[in-house]
C-alpha cells in the first residue's frame, strides 16, 4: 500500500477489475461471432454482420474508456445532477423522435446507427442516487428522504416502462440493495421478502391456502414470538394487509398482465396442468427457452468447440447473439466454459463490492454499490432466464450480449467507478 500511495494519480487503476472486464468482453465477442456468422468467416470487421459491428463497438469502447478515465473524478460527483437530468431529457425525447424496434420505442436512429438512451440512464441514475445519498443533509432512515430516493429511480423507470421496455425497468429494482446498504430499515427487507413469498404462494397454491398459511404464521408470531407481544388489533391489521395483497396479486395476474406476460409466469411457476396446452406453450412462447436449454444441454462437459455448435450454426435459438448469447457458451464451450463465465461475473461483482467498501468517500461507495447491483441484476436475470430458472425478461448480459448502446452504457457505468476508485486515496 505504501508503494501504491507513492504512485502518480492517473496510473493507480484496479487492474483486476479491468482484466475481468476485458476477458468478458473478449469472450463475449467470440460467442457473438459463433452465434451470428454465416458460412466461412473471411472478414472479422464485416459491417454487414453483428460480429463485425460488435468488433467496431469494442474498439470504440476502448476510446470511451480512455475518455472516462481522463475526466477528473470530482467531475462525476459535481455534475451528477446535470448528467441525470440530461439523461431524463434523452428518455423524454424518445416520445417524439424515438424509433420503434420490436414493439419498444427505445432507440434514436442516426443514419444506420441506433442509440438506446435507457442503457445510459443506468449510470446517470446511479450518479444521481450516489450524489443524493452522500449529501450530508440526507438521512435514508427518514421517510422524506426515502421517498426522494425512490423518486430519483422511479422517474427514469417509468419513462422506460412507457416506452414498452418492461425488461429494462425491472433493473431499477437493483437500487434496493444500495439503499439497504446505506441504512434503510430492515423492515423493508422483511416486507420485500414477505411480499415476494405472498405473490408466489397466491399464484402457485391459490388464495385460500395462502390466507390460511399467512394467518397461522402471523398468529404464531403474535402468540409465540420472542418480542414483546403486540396489540391484537395490530396483528390483525397485518394479516388483513397480507390477505389484501394476496388478492391484489391474483387480480393483477388475472386482469392486468398481458397474455404473454401471464404465460411466462405461468410457465415459471408450473401453473399449467393441462399437458396439451403445455405442449402448445412449448411450441410458442416457451420456444426460445426450450431451444436455449437444449443448446446448453447438448454442450456437455467440454462443449462442441468454437464454431462447432450445431444448434448455434443452425440458428435454432432466436436472439442468440443478444439476450440468449449464454446458450452459445453452453453449447460450444460446455460446462467448463459456462461455469467459467459465471465465475468471471461473480469475481467481477465481488471485486466491485470489495472496492466499494474500501472507498472513503460515501459518494464513491454508493456509486460502487449501484454498479455492482445493476450488473448483478442483469447477470442474474439474463443467465437465469436462459437456463429456465427465472421467467423470461428480455435484458442483455452485460459486456457479453451484442449491442453498442448496452456495451457502452455498461462500460461507462463500470469505468466511472474504476476512476472513482483510482482516486480514493486522495478522497477525504
Amino acid at each position: 500500500m505504501i508503494t501504491a500511495q507513492r504512485e502518480s494519480r492517473g496510473l493507480r487503476l484496479d487492474w483486476i477489475t479491468i482484466v475481468l472486464f476485458l476477458l468478458l468482453v473478449g469472450f463475449g465477442w467470440v460467442n457473438i461471432l459463433s452465434a451470428s456468422h454465416q458460412g466461412e468467416v473471411t472478414n472479422y470487421f464485416d459491417m454487414e454482420q453483428p460480429f463485425g459491428k460488435q468488433a467496431l463497438f469494442i474498439i470504440l469502447t476502448l476510446a470511451l474508456i480512455i475518455l472516462t478515465l481522463a475526466i477528473e473524478a470530482k467531475f462525476y460527483e459535481r455534475f451528477a445532477s446535470i448528467i441525470y437530468f440530461a439523461s431524463l431529457l434523452s428518455l423524454l425525447g424518445l416520445f417524439i423522435f424515438g424509433k420503434n424496434v420490436n414493439g419498444a420505442t427505445s432507440w434514436y436512429a442516426f443514419g444506420g446507427m441506433t442509440l438506446q438512451p435507457s442503457e445510459f440512464a443506468k449510470f446517470a441514475t446511479s450518479l444521481a442516487v450516489a450524489k443524493y445519498i452522500s449529501d450530508l443533509q440526507t438521512n435514508i432512515r427518514t421517510l422524506k428522504d426515502q421517498l426522494r430516493c425512490i423518486a430519483i429511480i422511479v422517474i427514469p423507470a417509468i419513462l422506460i416502462l412507457l416506452q414498452n421496455d418492461a425488461g429494462s425497468t425491472v433493473v431499477y429494482g437493483a437500487f434496493f440493495f444500495v439503499f439497504y446498504r446505506e441504512g434503510l430499515q430492515r423492515i423493508y427487507l422483511i416486507i420485500g421478502v414477505v411480499l415476494i413469498l405472498l405473490s408466489v404462494f397466491a399464484l402457485k397454491f391459490g388464495i385460500i391456502f395462502t390466507v390460511i398459511l399467512t394467518a397461522v404464521v402471523v398468529f404464531g408470531i403474535h402468540f409465540f414470538g420472542k418480542r414483546k407481544r403486540p396489540m391484537l388489533i395490530e396483528t390483525i391489521s397485518v394479516l388483513l394487509l397480507c390477505i389484501g395483497f394476496a388478492f391484489g396479486v391474483k387480480y393483477f395476474y388475472d386482469d392486468i398482465l398481458k397474455e404473454h406476460q401471464k404465460d411466462r409466469i405461468s410457465l415459471w411457476l408450473r401453473l399449467e396442468s393441462d399437458p396439451e396446452k403445455l405442449e402448445e406453450m412449448k411450441q410458442t412462447i416457451l420456444y426460445n427457452l426450450n431451444e436455449s436449454e437444449k443448446a446448453i444441454s447438448s454442450g456437455g462437459l467440454a462443449g462442441k468447440g468454437f464454431l462447432q455448435g450445431t444448434r448455434t450454426t443452425g440458428k435454432f435459438v432466436p436472439e442468440q447473439h443478444t439476450d440468449y448469447i449464454f446458450s452459445t457458451v453452453g453449447e460450444e464451450w460446455g460446462f467448463l466454459g459456462s461455469a467459467l463465465v459465471v465465475i468471471l461475473f461473480v469475481a467481477l461483482l465481488t471485486r466491485i463490492l470489495y472496492l466499494a467498501e474500501l472507498q472513503k468517500s460515501q459518494f464513491s461507495r454508493v456509486y460502487g454499490y449501484c454498479v455492482a447491483s445493476i450488473l448483478f441484476l442483469h447477470f442474474m436475470i439474463n443467465i437465469g432466464m436462459v437456463m429456465g430458472l427465472i421467467p423470461t425478461i428480455g435484458i442483455p448480459l452485460p459486456f457479453f450480449s451484442y449491442g453498442g448502446s448496452g456495451l457502452w452504457g455498461f462500460t461507462i457505468l463500470l469505468f466511472i467507478f474504476v476512476k472513482l476508485d483510482s482516486n480514493r486515496l486522495y478522497d477525504w
Partner: protein
C-alpha cells in the same frame, strides 16, 4: 451484516447457476449423439442388397426398386390433404391415422408414411411431392424372387420394428431387414452398410450445407452376393411332390453337410411377402393356424422318429458289445415282458441283425435295447451311455447351423426317468418304446437327414448348413470340420447292409429305382392330438430316412408326411423320387411320380376338425387328384408370381 447481504446473494446465485449448469450439461444429457441431433439432417444412401444364387449358380433372389413416402411430422406445413390422399390412394381417415402414428413415434424423425409405392404411383407422385412440405420419397430396393420356390429357405425382408431399432441402432424406422430364412441369418452380408450424409439445418429446416464439410459422411457399401447350398431343381421338385400333403423333406450332401433341399409343406409363393401387400399376406399366412404355412416342418416339427431310430440302437448295441451281428432273437408277433407285449408284424423268425433291420422287427430291437440299458449294474448308467451315443449323431440338441429356426428335439437320459419314476426306481422295461423310436424321443426331419448322412459317412457328419459361398468372404469354419460320432467305423458296414436290404427285399422294396443303390429305413410313427381336451390318435406319420448311393453317398434324405400312414406309402416314394431326381436328373419311375402327384391327404387333415367321429390308419382316407388339372394349375402358378398360397385343400380348387 448490511455489507454482506448483496455479497452473499451474488455468491449464492453464482453457486445456483453452476449447479443448474451441472444439471443441464452433465447430469441430465445422454452423451451427445450426432444421430439424435435434430439440427442435423441425416440422409441415408441404401446400398443394393446382395443377390442369392443356388448351388449351380442359378439366380434365386434379385432386387427391384421401391419407393417409400416418408414424413417428418414437425416439418409438415398445412397442405391440400385431399390431393395428397388421392395421389397416395388412401382415405382422409387413413391419412390422419398414419400421421398420428408417425407423430407418436417421433415428431422429428422420419417415419414411413406409405411404404413401397407401385411404379405408377411413384411416377405420379414424383412430380408433386415437392408441394407437400415434410413429405419426401425414399428409394429402397425390394426383393424380386426369380422363382416361386423355397419361401421357407430364402425367407423375406420386412421393415424394422421398434424392438429391433432399440436393440440395434444401425436400423432406423422404415429400414428393411431379413425376417426369416437366409435373409435373416445372412442379413449383415446381404444388406451391406448404408451410407449417410449429415446436413446442417437451420431452424426453418432448410439445408445450409454439409455438416463439417462432410467429414462424418460415409459411402454405402454394397451388399454381398451369397450362394446357398440348395439345388433349385431338387427344391422345386420336392415342393411339387409335397403338394396336397403336410410334412417336410430335408436332403443333405453327406460329404459336406450342405443342405440340398429343404421343403416344408404347405408352403407359399415368396413373392407374396414383397411390396405393399406384404403385411396383408403375412397376416393371412400367420393366421392360418391349422395348415401353418409359415411353420418350417423340415426344421421345427418334432416328431417321434419311429423305426429309423432302430438303426441307432443296432449301432450302439455293436459298439457296446452287447450283441453280435450273428445272434438271433425270436419274434412271436411281438415282444412280451412283465405281462405286457410290444406287438410286431408277421415276418420270419428268429432274426439276426440284418433281418432285424430289414424286417423292422420290434422284438429284435427290444432285446438289443434292454441289453444296452442293463449292461451295467444300474440302468441309469446304461441309459446315460445310450443317450451319449444317440446325441453324438446330432440328435437331442440344436445343430448350431445357419438356419433361422430350429428345434432341439428330445433324447432322454437317466435324469429324465429319475424325474418321472424316482431315483433308480425304473428299469429298461419302463422305457422300452425307445427301442423302436417312440416313447420319449423326438426328432426333427433335418436331424434325421443328418443322422442318415452320418451313417452314410460311416461315423461322422458335417454340421448341416445352407451357405455355400459368400462373395468376398469365407463361410463359418465350423461347417467344414467333421464331427465324429461315438461309434467305431467298423460297426457301420453291417448296418448299412441292413439298410440296403430294407430297399432290396424289406419294407421299402416297392420304391426301388433301377441303377441306384439306396440304403433306407421306413418309419411309421403313432401320433396324437388333443381334440376338445381329449387325447385322440390320428393316422400314423409316414417316415423315410435314406442315403444313396450305398458307397460314397451323395445324398442323405429324411421325408416326413403327416398322417401318411406307413413309411413307404408316401415318404418312401417321395424319398425315392427325390434321390433319383438328384442323382440321375430324370425320373424313370413315372408310375411312382404319378401316384404321388395324384394322391393327397387334404381330407385326412380335415377329419379332426370336422367334429364327426372318424377312423384312422386302415380307415384313412386319400384324395385322388386329377393330374391334368393339377398341372394346369402349376403352370398358372409359375406364370403369375402374384398368385396366392398354393391351394390347401381340394375344395379350394
Amino acid at each position: 451484516m448490511r455489507k454482506l447481504l448483496l455479497f452473499s446473494i451474488i455468491t449464492s446465485v453464482g453457486i445456483i447457476f453452476i449447479a443448474r449448469l451441472f444439471y443441464l450439461q452433465i447430469y441430465k444429457p445422454q452423451a451427445y449423439n450426432l444421430y439424435e441431433d435434430n439440427a442435423i439432417r441425416k440422409v441415408y444412401d441404401y446400398p443394393k442388397r446382395g443377390y442369392i444364387y443356388d448351388r449351380h449358380g442359378a439366380l434365386l433372389v434379385a432386387n427391384q426398386p421401391s419407393y417409400d413416402v416418408m414424413v417428418i411430422p414437425r416439418e409438415v406445413e398445412p397442405l391440400d390433404t385431399l390431393e395428397l390422399c388421392s395421389l397416395l390412394k388412401i382415405t382422409k381417415e387413413d391419412f390422419i391415422d398414419i400421421y398420428n402414428k408417425a407423430y407418436t413415434y417421433s415428431p422429428r424423425l422420419p417415419s414411413v408414411f406409405i411404404p413401397q409405392l407401385s411404379r405408377n404411383d411413384f411416377a405420379m407422385l414424383q412430380e408433386k411431392i415437392r408441394k407437400f412440405e415434410g413429405f419426401y420419397i425414399q428409394k429402397r430396393s425390394l426383393r424380386d424372387y426369380q422363382r416361386s420356390i423355397g419361401a421357407n429357405v430364402l425367407g423375406d425382408i420386412g421393415e424394422a420394428n421398434e424392438y429391433i431399432i432399440q436393440k440395434n441402432p444401425y436400423y432406423k424406422m422404415g429400414d428393411l431387414l431379413g425376417k426369416q430364412g437366409v435373409e435373416k441369418t445372412y442379413e449383415e452380408v446381404l444388406r451391406g452398410v448404408k451410407g449417410i450424409k449429415f446436413i446442417q439445418k437451420d431452424r426453418f429446416n432448410r439445408d445450409i450445407g454439409p455438416y463439417k464439410n462432410g467429414i462424418y459422411d460415409t459411402l454405402p457399401q454394397a451388399g454381398r452376393d451369397i450362394t446357398i447350398t440348395i439345388d433349385a431343381t431338387l427344391q422345386e421338385y420336392g415342393e411339387l411332390l409335397m403338394e396336397h400333403k403336410r410334412g417336410g423333406i430335408v436332403a443333405i450332401e453327406p460329404a459336406t453337410g450342405e443342405i440340398l433341399a429343404m421343403i416344408s409343406a404347405p408352403t407359399y409363393n415368396p413373392n407374396l411377402l414383397v411390396g405393399r401387400q406384404r403385411s396383408a399376406n403375412f397376416t393371412k399366412l400367420y393366421n392360418d393356424t391349422i395348415a401353418k404355412p409359415l411353420y418350417d416342418r423340415g426344421l421345427q416339427a418334432m416328431y417321434p422318429p419311429g423305426s429309423p431310430f432302430k438303426i441307432l440302437n443296432a449301432l450302439i448295441g455293436l459298439q457296446e458289445g452287447v450283441v453280435t451281428t450273428e445272434e438271433r432273437f425270436g419274434c412271436n408277433h411281438g415282444y412280451s415282458y412283465g405281462g405286457r407285449k410290444m406287438g410286431c408284424h408277421g415276418h420270419p423268425s428268429p432274426v439276426a441283425m440284418n433281418g432285424g433291420i430289414y424286417n423292422s422287427c420290434n422284438a429284435y430291437f427290444a432285446n438289443v435295447y434292454r441289453r444296452i440299458i442293463d449292461k451295467y449294474k444300474k440302468p441309469s448308467e446304461g441309459m446315460d451311455i445310450w443317450s451319449k451315443h444317440v446325441k453324438s449323431f446330432g440328435l437331442g440338441n440344436y445343430l448350431n447351423n445357419d438356419l433361422s429356426v430350429g428345434q432341439p428335439g428330445k433324447i432322454p437320459d437317466s435324469k429324465t426317468y429319475n424325474r418321472i419314476y424316482g431315483e433308480n426306481r425304473w428299469g429298461s422295461t419302463y422305457n422300452l418304446s425307445n427301442a423302436i423310436g417312440q416313447g420319449e424321443i423326438l426328432t426333427t426331419p433335418i436331424q434325421l437327414a443328418n443322422m442318415a448322412a452320418a451313417i452314410g459317412n460311416r461315423g461322422y457328419y458335417y454340421t448341416p448348413h445352407i451357405i455355400k459361398k459368400i462373395q468376398g468372404g469365407e463361410i463359418d469354419s465350423t461347417f467344414t470340420k467333421p464331427i465324429h460320432t461315438t461309434i467305431d467305423k467298423k460297426h457301420f458296414e453291417p448296418i448299412v447292409q441292413g439298410m440296403f436290404d430294407v430297399y432290396n427285399h424289406g419294407t421299402a422294396s416297392t420304391v426301388q429305382i433301377p441303377g441306384i443303390e439306396i440304403c433306407g429305413k421306413t418309419g411309421t410313427a403313432e401320433n396324437f392330438i388333443k381334440i376338445d381336451g381329449v387325447k385322440t390318435q390320428l393316422t400314423d406319420h409316414s417316415i423315410f430316412v435314406a442315403f444313396a448311393p450305398k458307397d460314397n453317398p451323395t445324398i442323405a434324405i429324411a421325408v416326413f408326411v403327416e398322417n401318411g400312414y406307413w413309411g413307404s406309402r408316401f415318404a418312401g416314394r417321395i424319398a425315392g423320387l427325390m434321390i433319383e431326381k438328384y442323382i440321375n436328373g430324370e425320373i424313370t419311375r413315372k408310375d411312382m411320380e404319378t401316384w404321388i402327384l395324384t394322391h393327397g391327404l387334404e381330407s385326412e387333415y380335415q377329419k379332426p376338425y370336422s367334429g364327426q367321429p372318424f377312423t384312422i390308419n386302415k380307415g384313412a382316407t386319400i384324395d385322388i387328384i386329377p393330374l391334368e388339372k393339377d398341372e394346369k394349375q402349376n403352370n398358372e402358378l409359375k406364370s403369375n408370381n402374384n398368385l396366392g398360397i398354393r391351394p390347401k385343400s381340394s375344395e379350394d380348387q
